[in-house]
Amino acid sequence: PQAQESCASCGLGRPDDSDRVDTDFVEAVKRHILSRLQMRQRPNITHPIPKAAMVTALRKLHAGKVREDGRVEIPHLDGQAAYANEVQEETSEIISFAETDDSTLSKSSLFFLISNEGNQNLYVQQANLWLYFKLLPGGPEKGLRRKVTVKVHYQEPSSQGGGRWPLVEKRVELKRSGWHTFPLSEAVRAVLGKGGRRQDLDVRCEGCEAASVVPILVDPADPSHRPFLVVRARQADGKHRIRKR
């Protein structure tokens, strides 16, 4: 018996009350999952994201296949890792949905609250803004491409002066309504680097009106085309950085 005590897991006795064991186990598993996700407690979901927006974002990212029964299957982020010893770095993909509030100055402004997953040293590998452009009837002849220029600016909240400076400008050719991406890695790195979480943007579309094209921003009537920001991030720790240098 003495030797038994020296081994934490040896000789786990069988308590007579298996219900209590299950409850204890469930609580232990809950704590284990939360600690591995670096969460103190489970999120409080009071107003869920419209399912249409979520499914669209997941579909676009191949982040998961939405099955008939609504369940989601997930491929591994790096697509190959099957066992833990192959995943050297913890990468995560964070999808944030666009929001507006009374500090977003105009109809073309929106913001994202980017999650840093509870820790400060996330290294942003890539960040893309996804915008949906709808083609209205009455544009150029059928089959011809509609050309517009989209300019995405950093929009300083009005409370901080409301300044605006360009982040990305892209010429978009549209043949049909659809999604387009705009790289925002540096902008998101800058926000997270300053310890912020809010990414304020202003989206302008030159030529849209003439070409009968509408960029869908935050429109409660059209949740499945709500803009979203995808940030692919890695836990940044000194060891890897050194190797990079």
């Binding site: 598993v29 996700l37 997930i74 591994h76 999650s115 979480r197």
Partner: protein, 116 residues
């Protein structure tokens, strides 16, 4: 490793334990997977297991076990039943700001157990 199915006489084995997130009310913030395999290791590691292939948690343990079988063990410390193989779990979940986070969490599921 062995599976705990009642037929291995209390030897070190892997006990499967599955939690369906719907049953614990976590399916509102965890989008996928639908549940979690909280498998764990339990059972004893008697000396005669030292020779069983696959029962040792590492090469070092296999060597120590050989010493132990020949009565040359460095002490009377018993062997422990621990996870010997773990796998990654991909998760898709909402955080508390309604971001969707997709993450591969390494070493999350116990696949096999062995004696250390």
């Amino acid at each position: 490793g062995l599976e705990c199915d009642g037929s291995n006489g209390g030897l070190c084995c892997r006990q499967q334990f599955y939690i369906d997130f719907r049953l614990i009310g976590w399916n509102d913030w965890i989008i996928a997977p639908a549940g979690y395999y909280g498998n764990y290791c339990e059972g004893s590691c008697p000396a005669y297991m030292a020779g069983v292939p696959g029962s040792a948690s590492s090469f070092h343990t296999a060597v120590v076990n050989q010493y132990r079988m020949r009565g040359m063990s460095p002490g009377s410390v018993n062997s422990c039943c621990i996870p010997t193989k773990l796998s990654t779990m991909s998760m898709l979940y909402f955080d508390d700001e309604y971001n969707i986070v997709k993450r591969d969490v390494p070493n999350m599921i116990v696949e096999e157990c062995g004696c250390a």
